[in-house]
Amino acid sequence: MPNEHNVPALPRIGVYVCHCGTNIAARVDVAAVTEYASHLPYVSVAREYKYVCSDPGQELIKKDIEELKLNRVIVASCSPHLHEHTFRLTTQAGGINPYLFQMVNIREHVSWVTEDSAAATAKAKALVRAAVQRVVFHEELAPKSYPVHPQVLVVGGGIAGIHAALTLANAAKHVYLVEREPSIGGHMAKFDKTFPTLDCAACILTPKMTAVKAHPNITLLTYSEVTRVDGFVGNYRVQVKRKPRYVEENKCLGCLECITGCVYKDARYPSEFELGLGKRKPIYVPFPQAVPLVPVIDAETCILFKSGKCPKGCVKACGDRAAINFDQKEEVLELEVGAIILATGFQTFDAGRLPFYGYGLYPNVYTSLEVERLVNASGPTGGEIVLRDGRRPKRVGIIHCVGSRDDQTNRWCSRVCCMYSLKLAHLIKERTGAEVYNFYIDMRTPGKGFEEFYQRLLDEQVHFIRGRVGEVNDWAAIPEEEGKLIIRVEDTLIGIARRIPVDMVILSVGLEPQADAAEVRKLFNITSSAEGWFLERHPKLAPVNTFSDGIFLAGCCQGPKDIPDSVAQAGAAAAEALALIDKGCVELEPNTAWIDAEHCSGCQACVALCPFTAIRFDAERRVSVLNEALCKGCGTCVAACPSGAAQQHLFLDEELFAEVEGVLA
């Protein structure tokens, strides 16, 4: 019930209803809404305009504020998440406090979702009326301003994380780069060549990796994970857990003698980095170019940890450098950073989920990532493309869209598979002269130089069969098929079912969110799409921002991307972080709560309810006191406060009650 005496100097409201071209006008009778608004209490002027967010549109508002002495502004257009900020600035430019503004969402919530015009118009009217009733109670506010910590946290040491970290470090900002694996490099480190230019991944990645290690502004934390995040934009407090690698980074010179010295004379455990195609010892570096070049001891397989008895060849080999320390314990670091860039990447689709492709059943069915290792000069076969039984494949089938564009598994296109399949086809053709068959649904080669690469492959006589493969099996229908893998597919261009016998099958597995993406999302308090990709604030206008200010996205954690796109996005994220830091301070929505001592019961219910410990009890005055700096503006104390002493700016009881009454009136 709006009690008049709360109303400051008689309101003079200007209402601006936006056509948004036809986005709104096509469904909502804008003229009618404007007419209706013009008769609402305290409304001095109501206008419609094609694009209120355009310069002339905003000018219109400023002019009215000055000439008609408006002291309240309402814009009925799109979502406040899109333009509330814009119009607050307009309101301010017009000469009144920016918070004397209220936005009405008649596009996302009305015109775009409502079939019937009359209904849409009625709904728009109701929402506008609600805003008019609400804005009457708006108060003059000032945004809360806080200093920003100049450091940045980058999570994930793949190419995106590396690039973001270097960009920031080169701008003289201190960066903490956290990577959970023993080395940075991510997926790119596993690749041999990169499409479409075929330059060697290691050649372009390794310099960046060493640059990270060498950079004075980068603190590299490998074999580490972020375990807690709190605080807010500009002032995040982050807890990082460092797993013990039992080799002290500061003492190790990277000579790798210890690995030679290990009691196990030869590597016997499947190497994670080589996806099991190669072997490693209990003490190992994932790959020769690893950064940092510091071995890790795997407690699972190290005989000392297992039996407690070991001659400790590694320790002997290390000698007086004494870098090896079996007593190393897990370490927990507390970091303070102003911005966070998430570059946590992707995982490849588990081909085992599609049993009819025979992955795991037939040894000569590989995933594309495994083949990346096979063709890689520093890979388990030294770049020799040979089957598990040592034979050289004469016929190779590459099946596209495994775990992509598939209702059974993942519906999205993974964007990179067509191109890396072409790349692998080329490399295999080049090195083995084998017949290579690509089985595709559609060839998607929209990038720079991509289509040309496709043409090149066609010229190289690589076969392309259009059709989704039905099954891969090992039984022969005719003698020629004996001992081969048979790819059964409907060739949709000639309309017949075919059986293609091959020696090697490569499954071009799609990209999907990391297995722990959901936990990471919660940890950093951001949202994600239904598929599990981290959600950008706006698909077009804020592609690297999240809904949590100060947390930015880079690379495949936001969706499938190729290397150039990941790098570009990483640069963008770094720029956003820089903008935030160099401004030096953040202005926060002044939607914090406060407690009116005059009415406070001193019951202290709010103290326990506040998730951010922003409220304490002042025993002297017997009232609760709220620390505005800690308050994040959820308003749960307001809802609970039995005496009405707790209130929240921008969401005052008066404002909400008036709004509810408005939408119903």
Partner: protein, 147 residues
């Protein structure tokens, strides 16, 4: 059931999940009935039971509170607090002659635009079945309504 009865429903949506789901429904051009009029709060934990009672007093036939899934709350546990309050409020409503089904609490994440549409369509239908909620005030008796 009165066929042409269109329920008046107030949506109280949290800024981070359900309100964004409604935005996404818009950008995805999904269609749903126009009955729900949305009032935005930062968190479902801000939804004061008074506000819900007020909505019913002002003539709402239903109230739809939307928040983030458990574990996803932007403010850690605001949604749990909303859950507790609404659970107890639903225990009170029948005594005031209001079917508890008229108050609905849903967890709808920013990505679940399709669920939002489904919930709204379903809730509308549910309220249509219940029929209009006559605001309990017998106005003619209230010669004098206090300010």
């Amino acid at each position: 059931m009165n066929e042409d009865f269109e329920p008046r429903i107030v949506g109280m949506f949290c800024n981070w999940c359900t309100y964004l789901a409604a935005d996404l429904a818009g950008t995805s051009r999904m269609k749903y009935p126009p009955n729900v009029h949305v009032v935005r709060t930062m968190c479902s934990g801000r939804v004061d039971p008074q506000l819900i009672l007020w909505a019913f007093r002002c003539g709402a036939d239903g109230v739809l509170v939307g928040g983030c899934h458990f574990g996803d709350c932007h403010y850690q546990e605001g949604n749990h607090k909303a859950f507790r309050r609404i659970l107890l409020l639903k225990q009170l409503l029948p005594q005031l002659g209001i079917e508890p089904e008229r108050l609905r609490l849903e967890w709808i994440s920013a990505a679940e635009a399709d669920r939002l549409c489904a919930v709204i369509a379903d809730f509308r239908e549910q309220i249509r079945q219940l029929g209009p909620l006559r605001a309990p005030l017998e106005e003619e008796k209230m010669e004098h309504v206090p300010a």
